[in-house]
């Protein structure tokens, strides 16, 4: 089992969500985050005070998937989240030790 975390541009969320549904990913968790990589921020000016804002709004989504789905999930996210412009984001894959479905108590693959 793997936990796939992807940081994407916020307006791409719907596309990515649809692409994941299509390949059979049942559920995802989404958080609003701030961050930057090589994409520069912007400057804000308030009267005489200039602020360089490095942090840009992004969306983090997490999905717990079985190992056989991982390749297809990565492809799906990549394809739907890409704009070709700087700041598209990154995908991280973590090893997932245990999963439990709270309602039924199922564990492991059955809980995915």
């Amino acid at each position: 089992m793997k936990l796939i975390t992807a940081i994407i541009k916020p307006f791409k969320l719907d596309e990515v969500r649809e692409a994941l549904s299509t390949i059979g990913v049942q559920g995802i968790t989404v958080t609003e985050v701030k961050g930057f990589g090589r994409q520069k921020g912007h400057t804000e000016l308030y009267r005489g005070a200039e602020y360089v804002v490095d942090f840009l709004p992004k969306v983090k989504l997490e999905a717990a998937v079985s190992e056989d789905l991982v390749e297809r999930v990565i492809e799906a996210i990549e394809a739907s989240a890409r704009t070709g412009k700087i700041g598209d984001g990154k995908i991280f894959v973590f090893d997932l030790e245990q999963v439990v479905r709270i309602r039924t108590g199922e564990t492991g693959q059955d809980a995915l």
Partner: protein
């Protein structure tokens, strides 16, 4: 030690406040007049009598009731004038709550929003109560160079029938509405100051400082600039001299300040700058992000200020007539011009015109036109507005960097500098040659034929200088005193946490 001291101080003030009204009520109400002048029957108009001295500047009137001749009935105020003054007073209240509250509130970080709203509402309320106890009498209650008298302490002797003079002979408004109108001015002015030390001032310090500054800077400057016995007291050269001798120090010099460029804006601007210096910079100033948390609120606040300012400026005419209409137009166009000027200047120099710039430009224009609104023509108003927009933009950027203080909400850059500019330009554009009204001579009952721009600007400069020095000195002493009694600043932890939680136990927003 500080807390005991301040508790005792509060108890003393409240105790005094509770006792004195009982004492005051025993005396019979004073008769209508303290300036007994005979009706202007045969007084020869002093045409050639020293025009420079004879010319009496129109300024805020003192509320002196007219001569109580045994035969003459007391004057009855005009209902239109009275109704207008009631509305004007309400408009100025709106300028403070919520106008200024939101304008300033939107500019601070979210964690300090409530502290601004609280300081606004509380200072407004405290000063209002003090005004009707001793503020009004000391500002407008009688003759004197720097202060009035205590004759009208607790508004003693003022009834619904009491009247206050306007700028027209024989025209009066109820004194009570004059009291209320002036109260709104006294209440909003100290609130302007708190913007300079926002996000780090101790709440009790803000209140205590404002009470002291109101008593020792606002009241005397209001008296100096605006107090006189009223137009009906002037009938000939002799009575003119008498009125001048008993009038406020700056009024007597001939300073022109229609609605409070010196009394309100320079006065508060200087106090704010002094405070910014003495209280010190915010933690993280220059390194951490301290961007306004809601420019939407700031814009709403600025809009309420602009609309309410029509009450502030136009109401300062004290009656509803052509001069009021002039003040209205000037308040309209100068502000519009300043908004445009600031925005375009910002667009050109920084690349983007900002909402904060437009809102600030509007306020700068309003500040600058305040002393001028009843004296200049609309074209002069436009020039004043254009200059204010550009000069105050410099005030909040270049000048601010030069001064080096953390004047958080740019009280000096906008109110101080804008007030100085407006006060000086009033001297220029009040000239009939530049479309102004000139100066009215209450002896000849006509506009004075000669107007020297240079002379008037020099008089304006003296008024500006006096205000700066007076406010500066009082502020330094008051801040020092407050620091000793309660301490000016919150602790570092409290400042980091945010004043809303640390001083008021509340959050403005729950995310």
């Amino acid at each position: 030690m500080k807390r005991t001291f301040s508790t005792l101080l509060l108890a003393a003030v409240l105790g005094l406040g509770a006792l004195l009204p009982a004492v005051a009520q025993d005396k019979a109400p004073a008769t209508a007049s303290t300036t007994a002048t005979t009706p202007a029957a045969a007084a020869a108009p002093a045409d050639d009598a020293k025009p420079a001295e004879a010319a009496v500047a129109k300024a805020e009137a003192a509320p002196e009731a007219p001569a109580a001749d045994a035969a003459a009935p007391p004057p009855v105020p005009n209902k239109g004038d009275t109704a207008w003054m009631i509305v004007a007073t309400v408009l100025v209240i709106l300028m403070t709550i919520p106008g200024l509250a939101l304008f300033y509130g939107g500019l601070v970080r979210a964690k300090n929003m409530l502290s601004i709203l609280m300081q606004t509402m509380m200072i407004f309320s405290v000063v209002t109560v003090l005004w009707v106890i001793y503020g009004y009498p000391l500002a407008f209650g009688g003759d004197g160079m720097f202060y009035g008298t205590l004759d009208k302490l607790f508004l003693k002797g003022i009834t619904p029938d009491s009247v206050a003079a306007t700028f027209s002979k024989g025209v009066y408004i109820p004194e009570l509405i004059f009291v209320a109108f002036q109260c709104t001015f006294a209440a909003i002015t100290p609130i302007l100051i708190v913007g300079a030390f926002a996000e780090r001032i101790k709440f009790s310090a803000a209140l205590l400082f404002c009470v002291l500054w109101f008593t020792f800077s606002y009241l005397p400057i209001a008296h100096m600039v605006w107090y006189w016995a009223g137009p009906d007291a002037i009938t000939d050269a002799a009575t003119l001299e008498a009125v001048t001798a008993n009038a406020g120090y700056l009024w007597a010099k001939g300073a022109l300040d229609f609605a409070g460029g010196t009394v309100v804006h320079i006065n508060a601007g200087v106090a704010g700058l002094v405070g910014a210096f003495m209280i010190g910079k915010r933690l993280g100033y220059g390194r951490e992000a301290m961007a306004p948390h809601s420019l939407a609120f700031t814009m709403i606040g600025a809009s309420l200020l602009w609309v309410g300012w029509f009450g502030f400026n136009v109401g300062s005419n004290l009656e509803a007539n052509g001069v009021a209409a002039l003040a209205f137009v000037n308040t309209f166009v100068a502000t519009a011009a300043a908004t445009v000027a600031w925005s375009f200047a910002e667009w050109m120099s920084k690349g983007k015109p900002s909402m904060l710039g437009a809102a600030s430009g509007a306020v700068a224009g309003l500040v600058a036109i305040t002393p001028a609104c009843g004296f200049v023509g609309p074209m002069g108003a436009i020039v004043i507005g254009l200059l204010a927009g550009v000069v105050c933009l410099w005030g909040v950027s270049g000048l601010k960097r030069l001064l080096g203080a953390d004047d958080s909400l740019d009280v000096f850059g906008v109110h101080g500098l804008g007030g100085i500019l407006g006060a000086l330009l009033t001297g220029v554009f009040a000239s009939p040659s530049l479309g102004g009204t000139g100066v009215f001579n209450y002896v000849t009952n006509a506009v004075s034929p000669d107007y020297s721009i240079l002379d008037q600007v020099w008089i304006q400069a003296q008024a500006v200088g006096t205000t700066i020095v007076w406010s500066g000195v009082v502020s330094v002493i008051a801040y020092k005193l407050v620091d000793v009694v309660v301490g000016l600043r919150v602790s570092e932890d409290e400042e980091r946490e945010g004043l809303d939680i640390s001083s008021h136990g509340e959050s403005a927003y729950h995310s």
